[in-house]
Amino acid sequence: MLRIFLLGLVFGIALTMGEIISWFRIQEMFYFESFHMFGVIGGAMAVGMLFNLAARRFKWGTESGAPLDIHQYTTGWKRYIYGGTVFGMGWAVTGACPGPLFITLGAGYWPILVAIFGALLGTFLYGLLMKHLPH
């Protein structure tokens, strides 16, 4: 658990030092007026891809010998495009995706608590309505 906490710590520090938690950076991103956010996400994706390719090639497993827990998303497209679009709308409003939502709190910008409460409320609403939504 200590290692998990430390990994969270690194993630929180990296996203703050990289200004990813700044609302301004998100506004800039959605107008394609800076490469910064695309560099961060694309860079993480590219290095992650190298890791995944190496893990496949050299058959890396977890430290307890199990296969890596790589999420196999169910097929279909509706939930991804609809849900993704709704999330993107919220991202442009709050300037925070779920990671930065909490990191911003740590950085001392207390009104983000309202957005965190909203995100929990939205999650709860999804739980109530999911049977009626296309997936």
Binding site: G8, Q27, I41, H71, I112
Partner: protein, 205 residues
């Protein structure tokens, strides 16, 4: 360029000198660090994804009485809450000890546009005061704005079964097609709101 160097002296005065001495990190540093966190979690036997914590938190708060979606073994997910605690601590360490205080230097075009909408500190602060400063608490429009945005984030990430960490980084790097569809959605939703809705909403704050 040596702004981040740690002093070898152990006197209190010298220690204070290393506080707030780091410039913001470029994407070439932050991107690989995020990939390192994702890879480490996988090697430990976990999975990188922040938005699933929202479901876990609702479940702990008693939402399982209202929907089967929240009937889950949240204890098996408690490690991820520890990760969230780490991220909160990381945000505090970075802002209150490491990062040089100063504005986020955004594209002047972005700053001009936001100032025209009434965000007076665009280009001169880290986060807009109107939304994230103490004054936000006495501004019902700003609070409603944050609340609605939060609802969209929670609802959307759970519907899409993932957010930036789960889909854009973990999913795409593992060649998951559904993640590509989700990321296209992120961009679509963000573009619609940033270009069509925010120009109308932000001046009302």
């Amino acid at each position: 360029m040596d702004s981040g160097r740690v002093s070898r002296s152990s006197s209190a005065g010298d220690r204070a000198e290393v506080m707030h001495t780091f410039d913001p990190w470029p994407w070439q540093v932050v991107g690989p660090l995020i990939a390192g966190v994702m890879s480490s979690l996988l090697l430990i036997g976990k999975r990188f994804g922040l938005s699933s914590n929202l479901r876990t938190m609702c479940s702990i708060a008693g939402a399982n009485r209202f929907s089967d979606y929240f009937k889950m073994d949240w204890k098996s997910q408690s490690w991820n809450l520890v990760f969230v605690l780490g991220t909160i601590a990381g945000g505090a360490v970075a802002r209150f000890a490491l990062l040089k205080p100063g504005p986020v230097i955004i594209n002047p075009k972005t700053a001009l546009r936001l100032r025209a909408w009434g965000i007076d500190d665009a280009g001169t602060s880290f986060a807009p005061d109107i939304l994230f400063g103490p004054e936000a608490w006495s501004n019902p429009a700003a609070l409603a704005f944050l609340l609605i945005g939060g609802v969209l984030v929670g609802f959307g990430t759970r519907w899409a079964n993932g957010c930036t960490s789960g889909h854009a980084i973990s999913g795409l790097s593992a060649f998951q097609w559904p993640s590509l569809i989700a990321v296209a959605g992120f961009l679509l939703g963000g573009l619609i709101v940033a270009h069509l809705i925010l120009p109308l909403l932000i001046p009302l704050l």
